[in-house]
C-alpha cells in the first residue's frame, strides 16, 4: 500500500481538489486507487458527486467505523473514496493515533492491498495526523500557490515543519498550483521559487490556473468528467505519470 499525503502549505492552496483529481487521474491509469479524506470539512466527496447532506463517512459520532464497507464509495470508473463523515465536534486528539492505526488496518483488508495507492487529503493544522503520516506515507505533496504569501509560508515550513516531518522512506515534494502564466507577479514568483528551491524538491509539473476546476466542483464532478479538453486534465495526468515513476508502479 502506497500512501500519498496531499497537504497545503497554507490554507486555500487547493489540496482537496488536487487530491480528488490526482486520484482520478491515477485511477484512469488503471491503478487501484483510494481517495481518503482526513479533513473535517468533509469536502473531498463532493468532487465525486456525493450529496452534501449525506452524513456517511469514516467517522461517526467521534469514532471510526468498524467496517469500511459502511464508509467506502465507488465512482463509475472504479475509484474508491472514503469521505470523512459528518462530525459534530472535533475528534479527540489523544485518540487520533489509535484511530489512524485502525484505519490502516481496515485498508489492509482491501483486495491485494500491496498495490493500492491511497491519496490522502491532509488537514493543515493537525500535527498528530502529520506525525502518523510521516512514518506511514511514501510521498508527501506540499501544495502552494505562486503568490506573495508563499514566501512567509515557506520560511515557516523550512524552520518549523521540515525538521518534524523528516523520516526515512518519506519523500517530500512541493507542488505549484494555480499558476497564472498571463500574470507577471504569478510568473515571477514561480520563477523565483524554481530558482531558489532545491530542484529535486519541486514537482517538475505544475498546475495552471483553470476556471474549469472550481466549475467542476460546483457541478460535483472531477475536471475530467466536467470538460475533457481542459488543460487541468493534462496536468493532473502528467503529475500522475510522474508519481507513477516515483512510486515505481507501472501503468
Amino acid at each position: 500500500m502506497k500512501l500519498i499525503a496531499v497537504k497545503g502549505l497554507f490554507g486555500g492552496a487547493g489540496t482537496t481538489t488536487i487530491t480528488a483529481n490526482l486520484a482520478n487521474a491515477m485511477r484512469r491509469r488503471k491503478h487501484p486507487v483510494v481517495a481518503l479524506d482526513l479533513c473535517a470539512t468533509n469536502s473531498l466527496r463532493l468532487h465525486f458527486g456525493m450529496p452534501i447532506g449525506d452524513p456517511r463517512g469514516l467517522f461517526r459520532s467521534g469514532r471510526l467505523v468498524d467496517d469500511l464497507r459502511e464508509a467506502a464509495f465507488e465512482t463509475d470508473n472504479g475509484l474508491i473514496y472514503l469521505p470523512h463523515g459528518e462530525i459534530d465536534e472535533p475528534l479527540d486528539r489523544a485518540a487520533i493515533d489509535g484511530i489512524l492505526g485502525g484505519l490502516y488496518e481496515l485498508l489492509q483488508r482491501f483486495e491485494s492491498p500491496q498495490q493500492l495507492i491511497v491519496f490522502i487529503d491532509v488537514p493543515n493544522s493537525e500535527s498528530t495526523i502529520l506525525n502518523w503520516l510521516t512514518s506511514h506515507a511514501e510521498i508527501m505533496l506540499h501544495v502552494l500557490t505562486p503568490e506573495p504569501r508563499a514566501y512567509p509560508a515557506l520560511r515557516y515550513f523550512s524552520r518549523i515543519t521540515w525538521p518534524q516531518i523528516q523520516h526515512q522512506g518519506l519523500r517530500h515534494s512541493l507542488l505549484l498550483n494555480q499558476c497564472a502564466p498571463h500574470l507577471e507577479l504569478s510568473r515571477d514568483i514561480a520563477d523565483l521559487l524554481r530558482r531558489e528551491l532545491d530542484p529535486h524538491l519541486l514537482v517538475p509539473k505544475f498546475i495552471q490556473r483553470d476556471q474549469h476546476i472550481p466549475e467542476a466542483l460546483a457541478t460535483q464532478q472531477t475536471t475530467f468528467d466536467f470538460t475533457i479538453g481542459a488543460q487541468a486534465n493534462v496536468e493532473f495526468a502528467a503529475i500522475a505519470e510522474w508519481l507513477e515513476e516515483r512510486l515505481e508502479v507501472l501503468e
Binding site: 502564466p181 514561480a190 483553470d210 474549469h212 475533457i228
Partner: protein, 862 residues
Amino acid sequence: MRWFMQLREQWREVRRKQSRLSTAFYLFWLYLEVAMLNSRASEQFDHADQRLRLNYWFPHVNFQRPRWLDPIRLALQAVWLLLFETQQERADGLTQRNTDRTSILQRLNPWHHRRLATKPVQFATSGFERFFSTLLSREWIPSQTIRILITVGAALLVALVISIPMDATDQGLMLLFFWALALWVRNLQGRIPMLLMVLLSVIVSTRYLFWRVTQTINWDVPFDAALGILLLVAESYAWLILVLGYIQTVWPLERRVAQLPADLSLWPSVDVYIPSYNEPLSVVRSTVVAATAMDWPKDRLNIYVLDDGKRPDFKEFCEEIGVGYIVRADNSHAKAGNLNHALTITAGDYITIFDCDHIPSRGFLQLTVGWFFQDPKLALVQTPHHFFSADPFERNLSVFRSRPNEGELFYGLIQDGNDMWNASFFCGSCAILKRGPLEEVGGIAVETVTEDAHTALKLHRLGYNSAYLNIPLAAGLATESLSAHIGQRIRWARGMAQIFRLDNPLRGKGLNWGQRICYANAMLYFLNGIPRTIFLLAPLAFLLLHSYIVFAPAVMIAMYAIPHLIHANLANSRAQGNYRHSFWAEMYETVLAWYILRPTTVALFAPKHGKFNVTAKGGTIERDYFDLNISLPYLILIGLSLIGAGFGVYSLFFGPRDELLTVTLNLFWITYNLFILGGALAVAEEAKQVRASHRIRVDRSISIMTASEHSYAAELIDFASSGAGIRFYDELPLAPGDSIHVVMHHGTTRHGFPARVVSMRGLTIGVRFEFPDSAAERAFLRATFARADAWVGWRFNETKDQPLSSLREILGIGFRGYQNLAVRLAPPLAPVLGLINRGWGVIMSVLPQAPGTGEEDESLGV
C-alpha cells in the same frame, strides 16, 4: 438467428451512409477480413497489429468506396505479395535472421528459399563487417616502414589497374567484379566500407579518364580533336571535383559541443553585429530581440545593429529595446566595410555576426564559445545556416522539408569534412570570431565579394584554427525567388573565382595540404558553368555535326563510361546521400551553370572587376508566374537538344547500321539532359508566396486561456513572428475577435501571450499576438524561434538516399517542367495534359504497393 439480426443491424448502419452496392461490398470485405485474418474489432481499435487488417496488405484499395479497377489492383497486389519479398520483410529478415516464425505468405515466397542459398554470403558479410569495425579500433600495422611499404605497393597496384589496357570483354568482367564489390559493401555500416566504395569509384573513374586521354582523341581530324579536347577538359574537371570532393568529405569530424568553464567570471564579452542595408524592420526586429534573449551574462553581451540604410525607424527601435545602433559616413565595401567600421567602435573579446534575418537561438553563445577555451589558436566557430522558409527549389518543386535542400550538403557534410582538415570557413553569418586574430588580418577582407571565405583563408594562413559546429543554432529566410537565388550564387561564384586569382590557396604560405585542397575545391566548384554547358551540348556534336568527339567504338565507351558513372553515383550516394539525394545536384548545378559561366570566367581574368549585390529576402510573390528571363538560355538548350534528338531518331531508322549503338548512346545522353533541363524549367515556374511572415509548422502541446480564465489543452500547429495557428481537441466557445492568452513554455517557465482570435475553422484557430512590451516579445521568441531545440529534427539524417527512386523523382520533375511550358505556350493543351496525368495516375494506382503505406481510412463508426 442472432447473427442474422446482427447482420441486419450492421447493414442498416452502413446503409445510412452508402449505396446498396457499396454497402454489400464493404460488408463483404469486412467479414472476409474477420474470417481470413482473424481480426477483432477491439484489436482494430487499438491498432494492436496492423497486419490483421486488409488495409495493411492492400493500401491502395479503399474498401469502403470500391472503384472499377479494384479487382485488378487486388489481383496484382496478391500476386506481388506472394512472389516478392517486401521491404518490411527484408528489414525483419535482417533483424531476426534466425527466427522460425515465418508466416504462410513468407513460406510460399520463393525469396524465402533463396535466403537459404545466400547464407554463405551473409556469413561472409557479417565477418567482413566485424573485420571492418575492428580495423578502426586497433593499430594493425606495427611500424611506420611497413606502413609506407604497403602504401607504395598498393599505389603501384592501383596504377596498374588504372592503366592496363583491356579489350571490351575483359574490361566488362573486371568492372562487373568491381560493381558487385561496391553493391556488396553498400549496406555495411561504418566508414571503412565507405572508403572502399570511394576507392573503387576513384579507380574506375581514373581508369576511364586514363583511357579517354590515351586512346580516344582522333588527332587526324582537327575539328573532332578540338571538340574532343573540349569535352575531355570538361571531364577532367568533373574528375578533379569528384576526387577533391571525396577527400573533402570522406571523414567528417562531427565535432561536439565543448563545455564552458563553470566560473561565470571567466566568460568573455561578446559583441553581436547585425548588419542591415535595405531589409524591412519587420524582418530585422525578431533577430535583434532574439539576440538580446541569448543566454549570456548581460554585462558581457552587447548587441549592435549596423545600419547601412541609416533609417530613422531602426534608430528608434534600437533605442526602444536598448541595443546599440551604428551608422557610418559612407557605404564603402558594403557588408565587409560595415562590419569593419563597427570593429573600430566596439570592444568585445569576441564578435558574433548574424545576418539581419537569422534569428539566433538562445543557446548560441553557450554552445559555441566553449571551443575557444579548448584551443587558444581558435579564431572562428561557424554554425550552419538554417532556413525556415522554403528556398525557390523547395517551393517551386513542392519538396519543402521532404528532401534535403540545396544547402544541406554544404552545411551538413562539406563543412564538417572541412573541419577534419582544419579548413572549415566563415560563411558570413551565424559564426563567432575572436577579435585579436580578426584584427590581425585587418578585419573582414574587402578585396573580394565573398569576404567571409576570404577572411577565413587569411586567418588560416596566419596559423589560426577554425571550427565547425554542425548544429543549427540560428535560422533565417531562404532567398525568395529563383532570380534572387541565382543572383546570390553569381556573387559567391564570382567571389570564389576572385579569391582563386588574388589569393590562391594552392600557393602562398601557412596552409597545410588539407586546407589547400578544401579551399581549392570550394573555389573550383564554382567554375562548373563551362563544363556543365559542355556536357549539355556534347551529344549534339555527334547528332548534329556528326563529329566523333570520343573516338572509340560505342561498346568501349559504354564499357568505360557507364561503370564510371555508376561507381561515382554509388559512392556519392553512400557518402552524401543523407545530405543530398542522387541526381539532385545535376539539377541544382544545371540551373546555375549558364549564369555563373560568365562572371566566373570574367573574375578569373579580371579579378578586380565586379560589385556586391544584396540578396533580397522576406518578400512575397503575389501569384504564380513563369520566369522567362531566367529560363531563356535553357529554352535555347532545350531547342537544340530537341533538334539533336530528332536527328538522332531519324538516323536510328535511316542512318548507317554501324552507327546504331553510337546513336543510341547519344540519344540516352540527350534524353537525360532534356529531363534535367526540364527540371530547370520546373524550378523557374515560381509558385506564389503570399504571407509576409513565414509560418513554421510544428506540432507541440500548449494551452490557451480564455478571458474567463478557462484553460484548454491545445496543439500549436504553426507560428510566425506575429501570429500562430492552434488546434483544439474539442469545440471551444470562441469567436473571431476574442482575446485569449496563448500559453507556451520557454525553459521551465510558462508564459501566457495575449492574442486575438482572427480566424476559426473547425477545431483550428488563427491568432494574432498583441505583445504589451518587448519583454513579452522576447519571451515569445525564446518560446519559439529562439528555443534551444527549435531546429532539431529538421534535418534528414535518417532518410536514406535511394538512387533509383531519386532518379525517378528527377525525371518526374523534368516532365513537369515540360508540361508547365506546354500549358504556358498553348493553354488549350491543358485538358489533354490533365487527361494524360490522370491516365498515368490510374496506371500507377494499379501497380502493387508496399503494405502499410496507405492512408488511414476514415471510420464509418460502425
